[in-house]
Symmetry: C2
Subunit: 192 residues, 2 copies
DNA sequence: CGTCAACTTGATGCTATTCAACTTTGGTGG
DNA sequence: CCACCAAAGTTGAATAGCATCAAGTTGACG
């Protein structure tokens, strides 16, 4: 990688792959997210667009110079990196300790919140989201198989936690209920 | 938290807890690691010393000023944060896709490498490590129960991948074999 | 020598995986 | 326009792997 970039529109995923093909998503790149690693020139992850994607790219060298000469850019980048670190650690809790059902509920809640913050709408009461990921991509994010993802989505639907139109369009009648199913603190103390 | 710190000697853990008590370790703080979050004043994690611990602490406000006035300090901090991010993502792969056996092998390999890099010895062939964690702490790191940790350590011992003296002293006759059991690339392409 | 925390081991149960068949959806060309 | 096809998703049955519950064992320390 000899450039860094910022996502303008669309969605991409950051994935790590083992020798035998097992895959784990380690980051979800949504609009406003930063991609790339100043100070290192090899990329340890696969970046894959899951929708049409527009990124704003910068050559890495000039960008690194910019950081050194403009303290505020460096500081902003540090802040964003710390946010990504928080997200990764949230992911560790999800992967290590949550049940399949909680994982699905968590993912839907994350996507709904990100979507709401982009549109500057609020995520309380009745909320609507379009899943930008296939069941397989969700399974890679959640450390599950795609069958388990499908089953748990069906279970949440049958119990009225979510409603589904088509395959990807989700209606959340009561966002707090979903958050409760996710096993998170009710306040949902979120950082981004 | 109104201070940040650097670990001088000893070992601490960074842990996240769910309402019902489930715990997931999200970071292992070894000598030279940085603790704290400039720019944010609430700590989302529990920091727990697992051995006698010496840390070098700084008040947060003056430290934040230092970052702004001294670009190189900020840049170094960004680098360290990016390394932590890599470690967290490595953790996501471990938690999401590795088997219990692979998780144990991975943890022992990580500890052996960190130990070797501190002592500036190399981690090839015959390697010796003292586990600085209880079985319970290991289970919190690996997203397992302590019983599973114990069983998998016994299994690795029975198969000759490791030898054990006492409860914590581990001898690794062939480090490459251990790395293979961990499911990582054979080159062990490591970043720290 | 008794006590306690750390650890080990066994038996059983449950959750998520695996393998397999089937359904739905959106796109393509006759 | 619709028949066909591939990709995505659903559902079922059987199984594997880890969790849970329950005894034990070991070793350090007073």
């Amino acid at each position: 990688m000899d450039f860094v970039a910022s996502v303008v529109s669309g969605i991409a995923t950051l994935t790590q792959t083992m020798e035998d093909g097992r895959r784990q998503m380690v980051g979800l790149l949504l609009p406003s997210d930063f991609v790339g690693r100043p100070g290192r020139d090899t990329a340890a992850y696969d970046v894959v667009a899951t929708t049409d994607l527009v990124m704003c790219c910068f050559r890495r060298k000039p960008f690194e110079d910019l950081i050194l000469t403009t303290p505020h850019v460096g500081q902003r980048l540090l802040e964003m990196t710390l946010d990504e670190l928080d997200a990764a650690r949230e992911g560790m809790l999800l992967l290590g300790r949550k049940t399949a059902r909680e994982k699905i509920a968590s993912l839907i809640a994350i996507l709904a919140r990100r979507d709401a913050s982009l549109k500057q709408s609020s995520s309380v009461g009745r909320v609507v989201v379009d899943l930008p990921l296939t069941r397989e991509a969700m399974s890679e994010y959640l450390g599950l198989t795609l069958e388990t993802v499908s089953r748990q989505i069906s279970a949440l639907r049958k119990e009225g936690v979510i409603e589904i139109e088509g395959k990807r369009h989700i209606i959340i009648p009561d966002f707090d209920l979903l958050v409760e199913e996710a096993g998170d603190d009710s306040d949902g103390g979120f950082l981004v």
